[in-house]
Symmetry: C2
Subunit: 333 residues, 2 copies
DNA sequence: TCAAAAAATGGTAACGTTTGCATTTTTTTT
DNA sequence: AAAAAAAATGCAAACGTTACCATTTTTTGA
């Protein structure tokens, strides 16, 4: 920059202003600087700038399981708002490895990003975050709480009510022998969905068969394993509630392998309404989350946080919707 | 840091060393500093450090279409090597918007990351990159060339040969009326696959029906549209070669909607062998790319580049494999 | 025990910007 | 045309760290 200034015959200050507030330099000067910049192929060192200003214009989205198509939709919402507010979005896959946690914690603590959105990630940080004197701007999407950082603002649907709605749909079709495939152990998200399932069953006066409640790790493979286990049990269920669509895909595969047909022999209920739900054979009945909206609200919330505004409403609940397709049918006989 | 140094009764240099090369400070001093750091909840400002050292330890993967499950697999490979070499991986969705291109170009040009992996992204940079005096370390995975930056090192499979193999498989089953769903217009990747298709047809002495060659944008929706178009044409094909698995999913949905059955009425061939291929009904015959391997090699290559090594072999071809499942069957009657 | 070698620590100048304040130039007003 | 106001520009001090070199302390060897 000094070099540019010299060649253009102005001061570094002016060159700096040329980049940050072009209107404040006279148009004659501006074009002179522009010319030199062009010619020298000069780009200002953003690290130095970030260092000086203390902000980067970068927001990191920490995702656990970047492959989940539901998160892809949330990301779309985030990206839309990001370009509106001219933030740059970078995605980081959450890593349970302690070293990786340290690394990420250090990353935000040292202000390498202006803020963080946690997308279904439970606790990607090390303890040093809690011990820190200031907590950086963080917003949680979809997952409820980070242990040790309970008061962070969050955006999500009412998973309990949605889990209940999903189950009720199956009950209304006459199903009583219903299985439920949940998520990982520690996930609050899927535990709430499962609790919705239990509540709905209870209200219907039915007992939950614990052998039919299996954890599924939110992946296709998890769904497969859980389904296999459930199908092996005596007295097969007539419906399975999968607490996300990926696991429903796994269930489809296992059910086909077992020679059963959906929905004739067994009804399948999903959760998330990913882009795959519609094209599965048969199309999947599921709970639709307003994924993009979650992303949008999440980023807006984060920006208020970054600007130092007080968040009056730390938990924002958006509405879900039951989408009935062909994977669920009335109980036969 | 100055504050820590004062409280601990040492110099800032020592505190700096405590963080970067703990072995070089006496254990007594080390524990003294550690104590103060702990107590004050101090974390070194990484921006300042990056600024000073000129490197960040961050590698950005630029992906076009982050939702594609194939890329997820490549990412897995990248992440594995990254933790081995202790790099931090951040993902950036490629954006065709000119402002976004500028932003990204500026990002790398100003050394905010140590290197870039381009994952199926065609040209996410603005022209200022080409005009720059130094090109930063960039490696291309899966896509062949970035216009204007022709000599960048790349890792991918032989898409021409793989497209040919896929088509040959269909030919061997007796199919002759074969459709082909390609990718976006400018994509070299899918054009090569399509060319493989054409070559195989030519070698078999068959003429390609141009009405059955449709672009598909590599998405489920693109696959749907293309399939719909093809099915509407007179004289239905007996097989469709989709140049990625996502589009095959779209094809499945449209074929089901048309009341046809796979593979009885029509065979479907995919490309990528994503995790969905196996659980589709019926399971999809496809070309397997060694996705994780591509990611691993890509990152290794990038690291050599970062370390300033000369790349002797700028194009690394890894091997593909035909995976036969149930979506393709011999031509009936 | 002393000299020499090695290890540990400290002082200070960068790194490339931005920013507050001072100064100069231009424009406006009377 | 001069004075006042406004707009442009420049100067120099930060920002928090690291790296070179110098200095002090500790260890080693005779």
């Amino acid at each position: 920059m000094k070099e540019v200034a010299e060649v253009a015959g102005v001061s570094v200050t002016t060159v700096s202003r040329y980049f940050n507030d072009p209107d404040s330099v006279k148009s004659a000067t501006r074009s002179k600087v522009a010319e030199v910049v062009q010619e020298m192929g000069f780009a200002p060192n953003r690290i130095a700038r970030n260092f000086r200003t203390g902000s980067t214009g970068i927001i990191v989205v920490v995702v656990s399981g970047i492959g989940d198509p539901f998160f892809t939709d949330v990301m779309e919402g985030i990206n839309r708002v990001a370009s509106e507010l001219s933030y740059m979005i970078l995605i980081k896959e959450a890593d349970a490895h302690p070293v990786a946690k340290d690394e990420l914690t250090n990353f935000i603590l040292s202000k390498q990003s202006d803020g963080i959105i946690l997308l279904g990630a439970r606790s990607p940080f090390s303890d040093s975050l809690k011990n820190s004197r200031v907590i950086p701007p963080i917003v949680i999407c979809c997952e409820a709480v980070v242990p040790g950082l309970e008061s962070l603002p969050a955006v999500r649907i009412d998973n309990l009510a949605a889990g209940k709605d999903a189950t009720k749909h199956l009950l209304q079709l006459g199903h009583q022998k219903i299985a439920c495939i949940g998520g990982q152990e520690g996930s609050i998200l899927t535990r709430e969905r499962e609790m919705g399932f239990r509540e709905a069953m209870k209200e219907a006066g039915l007992k939950v068969n614990e052998a039919w409640v299996a954890p599924g790790s939110l992946s296709i493979e998890g769904g497969r394993k859980a389904t296999r286990r459930i199908l092996k049990m005596g007295g097969k269920p007539t419906a399975i509630f999968c607490t996300n669509d990926e696991m429903a895909l796994g269930a489809y595969a296992e059910i086909a392998a077992a020679g059963l047909r959906i929905p004739d022999d067994i009804s399948i209920m999903g959760y998330d309404n990913t882009r795959y739900a519609e094209v599965m054979t048969p199309p999947l009945t599921t709970i639709a989350q307003p994924a993009q909206e979650i992303g949008e609200h999440g980023l807006y919330l984060l920006c208020s946080l970054i600007q130092g505004q007080q968040i009056t409403n730390p938990l924002e609940i958006v509405s879900h919707k039951l989408v009935v397709r062909d994977s669920t049918a009335p109980l036969r006989g």
